[in-house]
C-alpha cells in the first residue's frame, strides 16, 4: 500500500515536473513574440495585421498613445510617432519597458533624438527604421519576423526575413502597383503605351500622400485616377516631399493639383507660384469614419482631421474639401479605406466644370447669381453692401468681358425696380401679396413632373421624403399654382438672377420636433434644381453676406449627399462674394458648399462728428481734473451731463447741484473720449464704386491711427520719455499720441508717394492700408471674372481691416485659423488679462467673486483673436493650456490655488453653430479643463467649479436622471443649437411678437433651442431636458465677445439673440439678472472688458442718435435705409430680452430723431425715396414696443407714429416684413390709434394684402420631446389575491394561537 502510494506520488510529481518543463520550454523557445504597435492608423493596422504571416508573432494595437498602459507583457513595442505628442509619463513607460529588455523603437523622422532608440544596437535601429519607415506589405511581413529575431532571440520559428525594402521617394506612379517613374515624361510615355493618355486633355497632378504608391489600402487613390482618366484628364500621381515635390509639380506644370495629405501643399513661395500660374488646388480627403457615420449629419468632422484636411489647406486657397473615402471593417475586424465612388464622381464633375470654364467662350457661359432678400418689399440684403447697384455694376463688368447680358436696363434704378418686381421673396403669411406677385411678375414655372424628375436625379430618395413629410407633395403651399412651382427670377441673356427663398416654413410648431432635421421646402429646392438642370448654369455666384444654403442641415465638413448644402449645390463651380469682416461664417460657406470666396470691403469708416458736440464738456472736465475752476465748474459739468443724459449710461448720480467726484469725472472723461473716437461706418459699400477720397482717408485713419499712436508711444517708452504704465494706458495714448498720429497720416495721404520705401517705417502700414483700399474695388471684380474663367483666387486671412490690415486688398479667398493652435500665446495673455479684469470689475461692484461666468463663443472672434475668449474661460477655471513644439495646444495644467490667488470660478458656455463646427476640439478641451477644475481641492480658496458641479448634479437628480447619468452630465457646460443647427431660432420668434405674451416664453424657447450639449464626443449634440438650465444656475455674469468695428450690440441682431437670450434665460432661472460685459478685441493695443450697457450707450449715441451718422447713411440707397429698420428691430429685441441694456429714454429719443426729425435731416423724404418698407418697419417696431409696454408713449406720440405708419402704408402698400403684416394684434393696436379716413385706408390696405386666408408662418421654437422614460416592470398579481391571501393567513394564525393556548 505504502509503496503504491509512493509510486503514485512520484508519478504526480514527475507529471507536474514535466508540465513545468514544457511550460518553460514553451516560454523560452516557442511562445509567440508579443508586439505592441502604438499610434498606427486604422488602415495601417489592417495592412500590418493581414501581412503578418507567422503565428510566431502576435500583434496588438494601441490607438490612444496618451494612455500607454503597462508594457510588461510585450516583447517589443513599436511607436509610430506620426505627430503624436509624447508626455513624460508616456516616455517613462516606454523606457521602463526598454530597461526590462523589451525592444522598443520609436519611428519618427527625429528618431535619433529619442534616448530609447539610442539603446538599440545600430544595426537593429537601422533595420527597424527601414521596415517601419518604408511601410509596405513586404516590409511589414519581414519587419515582424525581424522583431522575433531581435526581441526574442532564443525563440524558434518565424525568424526568416528579407532586408527592408527602401522604396524610392520622389517618383511618379499610376494605378499599376509597383510601377514607378522618375519623371513626368516617363509616365507620359507609359500612359501612351497603355492607351491611357488623352491627347489635349488637361493635366492634373495628384498627390495622395507619401505612402500611397506602396500602401496596400488605396482603393480611393486608384478609383480617382481611373475616373479622372475616364473624364479625359491626364493624371500624374506623385510622391515626394518638400522642395523636390515642388520641382516635380513645376516640371509637369499642370492645370490643377489634387492634394489629399494633411497640412499645406507647400511654402508661401510655391503657393504664390501656383496661383500666379492659375493652377487650381483641390483638397478632397479620406475620412476616418465608417460610411454610416459619414452619412450621419450629427457626427462631425473634428480634431486633427478637420484641422489638417480642411482648415490648413484653406491657407493655400484650396478648393472642394470633399470626402472621397470612408472606412469599412473587414471580417477580421480591421478598418480599410473604401472609395466613395459617388463622391469621387462628383469631385471629377466639379473639376471638369471648373476647368471647362477656361475653354468656354464668355459669350456662351451661363452664370446663375443668387441674391438675398427679406420677405416683402424690404431691401436686398448683404452685410454692408448696397446690393442692387453692386449687382448692376457687376453685370456691366461681365458685359465688358464678353458675357451675354442682353436686356440689362440702362440705369441701376430701373434695374432695382425690375429686381423688386420680378425677384421677390414671399412670407407664407402674405397670401394676397403672393397672389399679386404670381399674377404680375414673370417667374419660371416648373411642372410638378419636371420638378420631381430633377429631384430624383439630384437628391437621395430619403432627402426628398424629408421634404414631403414636412410640407406635403410638390408643388407645396408657397409660390405654387395648380401643379406647378414658380421660381422668381430675372434673365439677362445668359445671366440668371434669383432671390434665395425662405429656408423653412413653420406652420405647425409641433411638426418641427427635436431630433428631426428641418428640410427646406419645395420653394427653396426648386430654384437650385432649376439652376442645375433647367438653366444648366456653368457656375453659380451667391452675392453678399450671407444666405442660408450653408446653414441648411447637415455635417460641418466632408458632406455627403445626405447633407442639404451638398445636395442642393451639387458639383457646380460655386463662388461667393463675402464681406471680409465676417470670416467666422465665411468658412462655413467654404466647407459646406465648397464655395470659393471673393472678399469685398466693409462700408467705409467715417468721422462720427461727436467730438465737436462734447468739446466744451470735455474741456471743462479736463480743467476740473486739473483742479481748476472750483465748484461752479463742477456744477456746470453736472448740469451738462444731466442734460445730455450721460449719467444714465454710466450709472452716475443725478442730483443737480452736487458736483461729481474725481473718480466720476475720470469715468465721464473716458466715456466721452470713447464716444468721440468711436469708429462708425458710413453708407453701405457699392461694389464697383471705389471709396471716395474722404472715405479713403477716414478708413485709413480708423485702421492705422491707433497702431501708429501706440508705436510712437512705444518709441518714447524705449527712450525713457514715458513709463510702461503710460504705454499701457489707452486713455493716456488717446490724449497724448492719437491726435498727432492722425495728423501725420492725414498729411501723408494728402499726397501719397507711390513707393512705400520713401516713407518713414512707422507710417508704411498706413500707406499700405491706403493702397490696399484703393486696389480693393477693382480687385473684387477682377477676382470674380478670373474665377469665372477657371482661374484661381488668391488666399488671404479674413476679418475686420481695423484689426487685421493684412486682409487688404479684398478680392481674395479668405481662410480661418488652425483651431489646434488656439488659444495662441498672445490669445492666452489677452484672455487671462481680460478674465482677471472681469473679476476685478465684478468684485468692485459686488464685493465678492462671481460663482459662475457664462460665455458666448463666436467663430469670427475665435478666428480673429485666435481663441482669446476660450482663454478667458480657461483662466476663470484656473487651468492653463500647454503647447507642443509646433504650437499646438495639446495638454492642460491645473494652476495651483496658491498661484491663482483667488477662487476657481465656474463657467458655462454657449456657442454658435459656426464656432462649434470649426473648434470642436477646443470645446472638448474646455470640458477636460472643467473636469480638472472640478476635481481640484479647495486649498485656501473656494472652488466654485466643484460646488457648481455638485449643484448641477443635484439639479439633474431632481430632474429625475439616474445618479450615474447625473454624475456624467454634471460637468457638461457647453451648449449650442439643436440638431447641429447654426442659430437659436429665436430671432424670428422674438420679432414675431404677437406669438408670445411673456418674456419667460422666450427664455423657455431659448433653453430648448440652445440646449444641445457639445462638450464631449459621446454626448455631442445630445439633448437632456433640464441640463442647459442646470448648467446656467448660479450665473452671476455673462460675457459677449466683439472683435469687429463694423458692428455693435445694436447694429447686429445676433448680439441680442445670444447675449440678450442668455441673460433672459438666466433671469428666468435664477430670478436675478446677471452682470453683462463685452470682451472688446477691436483694438489690437487696447483689449478690454466693457459693461454691456455702456457699450450699447456708446453705439446708440454714435450711430442711431447721431445726426452725422444718419446723414452719412442717408447718402446710401435702400440697403443703408434697411439698416435703420434692422437697428430698430434690435432695440426691440433688447427690450424683450434685457431691457436694462438700454437707456429708458431711448424710444423718446428715437421718436424725436426719426418721427419729429428734430435735426432737420429729411428723414421721411429719404425713406420715401429709397426704401419706404424700412420706414414702415421702424414705425411698426415703435408701435409694437408701445403695445408691449417697452415704450411708455404718450397718446400724442402714439397717434403721431400711427398716422405716419398708416400714411406710408397707404402710399406704398404694406411692406410685408415680419413686423408689418404678420401681426394681427399690432394691426388692431395701430388701427385703434388712427382716426377716421386714415383708419379706413389702413385697414383696407392690410386686408387686401392678407386676403384673410393666409396662414401664419414663422421659424418656430423647436419643440423638444425630452426626458427619459422611467423603467417599467411587469406586474402580474391581482389585488384581490393579495387581500384574500392575507385574510386567510390571519385566520390561520389566529386559530393556531388559540389552539396553542388551549393546549397549554
Amino acid at each position: 500500500m505504502q509503496r503504491a502510494g509512493r509510486r503514485i506520488l512520484t508519478g504526480i510529481v514527475a507529471a507536474a515536473g514535466a508540465v513545468l518543463i514544457c511550460i518553460a520550454a514553451w516560454h523560452i523557445w516557442l511562445a509567440p513574440t508579443k508586439v505592441l504597435i502604438i499610434n498606427a492608423r486604422e488602415g495601417q493596422q489592417a495592412d500590418m495585421a493581414l501581412n503578418n504571416d507567422t503565428r510566431a508573432v502576435k500583434l496588438s494595437f494601441l490607438n490612444d498613445y496618451t494612455q500607454i498602459p503597462s508594457l510588461k507583457e510585450y516583447d517589443a513595442v513599436i511607436m509610430l510617432r506620426r505627430g503624436a505628442f509624447l508626455g513624460e509619463n508616456d516616455i517613462a513607460e516606454l523606457e521602463m519597458a526598454a530597461s526590462r529588455g523589451a525592444t522598443v523603437f520609436i519611428n519618427s523622422p527625429e528618431g535619433q533624438e529619442f534616448d530609447i532608440n539610442s539603446r538599440l544596437p545600430k544595426e537593429v535601429f537601422e533595420n527597424l527604421s527601414g521596415y517601419f519607415g518604408n511601410p509596405c506589405r513586404e516590409n511589414y511581413r519581414n519587419g515582424f519576423r525581424y522583431l522575433r529575431r531581435v526581441a526574442t532571440p532564443n525563440r524558434k520559428g518565424g525568424r526568416s526575413c528579407q532586408p527592408p525594402t527602401v522604396f524610392p521617394s520622389d517618383l511618379f506612379f499610376h494605378r499599376e502597383y509597383g510601377k514607378y517613374f522618375t519623371d513626368s515624361e516617363e509616365l507620359t510615355a507609359y500612359l501612351k503605351e497603355k492607351g491611357l493618355y488623352n491627347e489635349g486633355g488637361a493635366r492634373i497632378v495628384y498627390i495622395p500622400g507619401r505612402l500611397f504608391p506602396v500602401e496596400g489600402n488605396r482603393p480611393h487613390v486608384d478609383t480617382l485616377i481611373s475616373i479622372l482618366t475616364g473624364r479625359g484628364f491626364n493624371v500624374y500621381p506623385l510622391t515626394a516631399l518638400g522642395k523636390k515635390r515642388e520641382a516635380m509639380v513645376r516640371a509637369v506644370h499642370p492645370d490643377a493639383v489634387i492634394y489629399t495629405p494633411m497640412g499645406r501643399l507647400g511654402g508661401d513661395g510655391f503657393i504664390q507660384w501656383l496661383h500666379s500660374q492659375n493652377i487650381l488646388i483641390f483638397n478632397p480627403f479620406p475620412l476616418l469614419q465608417s460610411h454610416s457615420e459619414w452619412m450621419d449629419p450629427t457626427v462631425p468632422v473634428t480634431g486633427g482631421t478637420l484641422t489638417a484636411r480642411v482648415v490648413i489647406p484653406e491657407i493655400d486657397g484650396g478648393l472642394a474639401p470633399m470626402c472621397i473615402a470612408t472606412q469599412k471593417e473587414s471580417d477580421e475586424g480591421y478598418s480599410y479605406y473604401t472609395a466613395e465612388v459617388g463622391r469621387i464622381d462628383a469631385l471629377a464633375d466639379h473639376i471638369s466644370s471648373c476647368l471647362a470654364l477656361r475653354s468656354k467662350p464668355n459669350s456662351e457661359k451661363k452664370v446663375a447669381l443668387c441674391y438675398f432678400k427679406s420677405p416683402g418689399k424690404d431691401a436686398l440684403l448683404a452685410s454692408g453692401m448696397e446690393v442692387a447697384p453692386s449687382i448692376y455694376n457687376f453685370l456691366l463688368r461681365l458685359r465688358d468681358e464678353g458675357y451675354d447680358v442682353s436686356g440689362l436696363p440702362s440705369g441701376s434704378d430701373a434695374f432695382a425696380r425690375m429686381l423688386r418686381r420680378e425677384g421677390s421673396v414671399m412670407g407664407s403669411y402674405a397670401a394676397g401679396a403672393q397672389a399679386e406677385f404670381l399674377k404680375n411678375a414673370h417667374p419660371v414655372w416648373i411642372s410638378k413632373q419636371q420638378y420631381e424628375k430633377w429631384a430624383s436625379e439630384a437628391l437621395l430618395p430619403q432627402k426628398y421624403a424629408e421634404i414631403t413629410e414636412l410640407y406635403g407633395e410638390a408643388p407645396g403651399g408657397l409660390l405654387a399654382r395648380g401643379d406647378s412651382i414658380a421660381v422668381a427670377c430675372l434673365k439677362f441673356g445668359n445671366i440668371l438672377l434669383f432671390p434665395q427663398p425662405r429656408p423653412a416654413l413653420g406652420e405647425d410648431s409641433f411638426k418641427l420636433v427635436h431630433g428631426a432635421a428641418v428640410a427646406p421646402p419645395h420653394s427653396y429646392v426648386a430654384p437650385y434644381l432649376y439652376v442645375r438642370k433647367g438653366f444648366k448654369a456653368d457656375a453659380i455666384i451667391h452675392f453678399g453676406t450671407h444666405g442660408s444654403l450653408e446653414f441648411t442641415p447637415g455635417k460641418n465638413a466632408g458632406l455627403s449627399p445626405a447633407d442639404w448644402p451638398e445636395a442642393l449645390i451639387g458639383s457646380l463651380p460655386h463662388f461667393y462674394f463675402y464681406t471680409t469682416g465676417n470670416v467666422g461664417e465665411a468658412v462655413i460657406a467654404k466647407r459646406r458648399t465648397h464655395a470659393a470666396l471673393v472678399t469685398y470691403l466693409t462700408p467705409p469708416f467715417v468721422e462720427n462728428g461727436l467730438r465737436s458736440r462734447y468739446t466744451a464738456l470735455l474741456d471743462d472736465i479736463h480743467k476740473a481734473l486739473g483742479e481748476e475752476g472750483g465748484s461752479a465748474l463742477g456744477t456746470r459739468i453736472k448740469e451738462e451731463t444731466l442734460r445730455l443724459g450721460l449719467h444714465r449710461d454710466l450709472g452716475l448720480d443725478s442730483t443737480a447741484g452736487r458736483p461729481y467726484s474725481r473718480q466720476d469725472l475720470e469715468k465721464l472723461d473716458s466715456f466721452i473720449e470713447e464716444l468721440a473716437d468711436e469708429k462708425i461706418t458710413g453708407a453701405y459699400y457699392t461694389m464697383g464704386r471705389p471709396y471716395s477720397q474722404s472715405e479713403l482717408l477716414a478708413t485709413t485713419l480708423a485702421v492705422a491711427a491707433d497702431p501708429l499712436a501706440y508705436e510712437m508711444a512705444r518709441r518714447d517708452r524705449d527712450a525713457g520719455r514715458i513709463s510702461t504704465g503710460q504705454l499701457q494706458d489707452f486713455d493716456y495714448l488717446r490724449h497724448h499720441y492719437l491726435p498727432s498720429a492722425r495728423r501725420r497720416i492725414t498729411a501723408l495721404l494728402a499726397d501719397p508717394p507711390k513707393d512705400t520705401a520713401l516713407v518713414a517705417p512707422e507710417l508704411r502700414p498706413a500707406l499700405e492700408c491706403f493702397n490696399g483700399l484703393l486696389a480693393s474695388t477693382r480687385n473684387e471684380f477682377d477676382a470674380m471674372v478670373k474665377a469665372l474663367e477657371g482661374g484661381t483666387i488668391a488666399p488671404a486671412p479674413g476679418g475686420d481691416p481695423v484689426l487685421k490690415p493684412n486682409v487688404l486688398p479684398t478680392g481674395r479667398n479668405m481662410y480661418g485659423v488652425n483651431a489646434e493652435a488656439t488659444p495662441s500665446e498672445r490669445a492666452w495673455e489677452d484672455g487671462a488679462r481680460l478674465a482677471d479684469k472681469t473679476l476685478e470689475e465684478y468684485l468692485a461692484l459686488h464685493g465678492e467673486y462671481p460663482r459662475k461666468v457664462s460665455y458666448t463663443f463666436w467663430a469670427g472672434e475665435f478666428i480673429s483673436t485666435e481663441g482669446a475668449t476660450i482663454a478667458q474661460a480657461f483662466r476663470m477655471l484656473g487651468v492653463e493650456p500647454l503647447r507642443d513644439k509646433q504650437g499646438h495646444v495639446v495638454d492642460l495644467r491645473l494652476i495651483p490655488a496658491s498661484e491663482l490667488g483667488r477662487p476657481r470660478i465656474n463657467v458655462a458656455v454657449q456657442v454658435s453653430g459656426q464656432l462649434r463646427d470649426i473648434a470642436a476640439s477646443r470645446l472638448m478641451l474646455l470640458t477636460e479643463a472643467i473636469k480638472m477644475a472640478s476635481e481640484a481641492p479647495e486649498e485656501g480658496f473656494p472652488n466654485f467649479v466643484a460646488s457648481g458641479t455638485r449643484l448641477q448634479e443635484k439639479l439633474l437628480l431632481d430632474e429625475g436622471l439616474s445618479p450615474q447619468r447625473a454624475r456624467k452630465l454634471s460637468v457638461m457646460r457647453i451648449f449650442g443649437p439643436l440638431n447641429s443647427g447654426y442659430g437659436s431660432g429665436m430671432l424670428d420668434f422674438v420679432e414675431n411678437s404677437w406669438s408670445w405674451d411673456d418674456e419667460n416664453q422666450i427664455a423657455e424657447g431659448y433653453l430648448n433651442n440652445m440646449g444641445a450639449a457639445y462638450g464631449d464626443e459621446e454626448e455631442w449634440a445630445g439633448f437632456e431636458k433640464g441640463l442647459f438650465a442646470a448648467a446656467l444656475s448660479e450665473t452671476d455674469a455673462i460675457v459677449q465677445p466683439r472683435q469687429s468695428n463694423t458692428w455693435g450690440p445694436v447694429s447686429l441682431d445676433h448680439v441680442y439673440e445670444f447675449t440678450g437670450g442668455l441673460s433672459n434665460a438666466v433671469r428666468h432661472l435664477t430670478g436675478k439678472e446677471p452682470e453683462a460685459y463685452m470682451a472688446d478685441y477691436r483694438n489690437r493695443n487696447n483689449r478690454r472688458m466693457q459693461n454691456l450697457r455702456e457699450a450699447v450707450a456708446v453705439e446708440t449715441r454714435a450711430t442711431l442718435l447721431n445726426p452725422v451718422f444718419i446723414s452719412e447713411r442717408m447718402k446710401g440707397g435702400e440697403g443703408s435705409a434697411q439698416m435703420f429698420g434692422e437697428m430698430f428691430r434690435n432695440v426691440f429685441g433688447w427690450n424683450a430680452t434685457r431691457p436694462s441694456a438700454l437707456d429708458g429714454q431711448l424710444f423718446d429719443d428715437l421718436y424725436k430723431t426719426y418721427i419729429l426729425d428734430e435735426n432737420g435731416l429729411g428723414i421721411r423724404e429719404f425713406f420715401d425715396r429709397t426704401n419706404p418698407a424700412a420706414y414702415q418697419a421702424m414705425t411698426a417696431v415703435m408701435l409694437e414696443s408701445a403695445r408691449k409696454g417697452y415704450w411708455k408713449a404718450s397718446p400724442e406720440q402714439l397717434g403721431k407714429v400711427a398716422e405716419l405708419h398708416a400714411a406710408v402704408t397707404a402710399e406704398n402698400g404694406p411692406a410685408c416684413t415680419e413686423f408689418v403684416c404678420g401681426n394681427a394684434k399690432l394691426e388692431r393696436f395701430i388701427s385703434e390709434h388712427l382716426e377716421g379716413g386714415s383708419r379706413t385706408l389702413y385697414d383696407k390696405a392690410m386686408n387686401s394684402m392678407r386676403n384673410a386666408s393666409g396662414s401664419d408662418a414663422r421659424e418656430v421654437v423647436l419643440k423638444e420631446k425630452g426626458g427619459r422614460s422611467p423603467e417599467s416592470r411587469n406586474g402580474f398579481a391581482a389585488y384581490a389575491g393579495i387581500v384574500g391571501a392575507a385574510l386567510t393567513a390571519l385566520l390561520v394564525i389566529l386559530l393556531l394561537i388559540l389552539r396553542r393556548k388551549r393546549e397549554e
Binding site: R965, S970, P1270, I1282
Partner: protein
C-alpha cells in the same frame, strides 16, 4: 406611500436580523456576507436608475401590487417558520428563505444617493456594503446578546412579520381605494 414602504423595508431588515439571530454563527455570517455582496454587485445597476424609476415604484399600482404580494408571501412564510421552529428545532428549518431583506438593504442607500450629489460612487459603494454588514451583523449580535434563549427572537420575529403583514394590507388598501 413611499414612507409606508420604506417602513416595511426597515421591518424586513429587522426580520432578517431576528431570523439570523436564530442561526449558528457560520450560517448567519454567510448570510450577512451574501447580503453585502448582493448590495455590492447591484450597486452599478442601482446608480443607473433614475429617481423617477424608484419613486415611480411607489406610484404605480401594478408594481405596488407585485411588491405587496411578495412581501405578504414572505411574511406568511416567516410566520409559518415561527410555528415550525417552535415545534421543531431542526437545522433545515433555518433555511426557510428570506430574501426581501436584500432589496430593502438596497433601497436605503439608493434614496440616500439621490440626496448626496458629488459623493464618490466607489466610496459610497464600499460604505454601503460595510454599513449593511454592520447593521445586519451588529443587529444579530445585539439580539443574541439580549436573548436568553431562542424563544424571544422567535416571538419577536413572529410579531414583526404580523406587523409587516398588517402594514402591507393597509398599504394595499390605500393604493387601491
Amino acid at each position: 406611500m413611499q414612507l409606508l414602504f420604506t417602513l416595511i423595508a426597515i421591518l424586513l431588515i429587522f426580520s432578517f436580523v431576528l431570523k439570523g439571530a436564530l442561526m449558528p454563527r457560520k450560517s448567519w455570517v454567510a448570510l450577512v456576507a451574501l447580503a453585502a455582496l448582493a448590495l455590492w454587485f447591484a450597486f452599478p445597476w442601482l446608480t443607473s436608475q433614475p429617481s423617477s424609476a424608484v419613486t415611480g415604484v411607489f406610484s404605480d399600482r401594478k408594481i405596488l401590487a407585485d411588491v405587496s404580494a411578495a412581501v405578504v408571501t414572505e411574511a406568511i412564510l416567516m410566520i409559518l417558520f415561527c410555528f415550525l421552529r417552535a415545534g421543531e428545532r431542526s437545522a433545515w428549518t433555518l433555511w426557510v428563505p428570506e430574501i426581501l431583506a436584500i432589496p430593502s438593504l438596497c433601497l436605503l442607500p439608493v434614496l440616500t444617493l439621490y440626496a448626496l450629489p458629488g459623493v464618490d460612487f466607489t466610496l459610497f459603494r464600499i460604505g454601503a456594503a460595510i454599513a449593511s454588514i454592520i447593521v445586519t451583523a451588529g443587529g444579530i449580535l445585539l439580539v443574541k446578546a439580549l436573548s436568553r434563549s431562542e424563544s424571544e427572537p422567535l416571538e419577536a420575529l413572529f410579531l414583526v412579520n404580523i406587523f409587516i403583514l398588517l402594514l402591507t394590507v393597509a398599504a394595499a388598501g390605500a393604493f387601491t381605494f
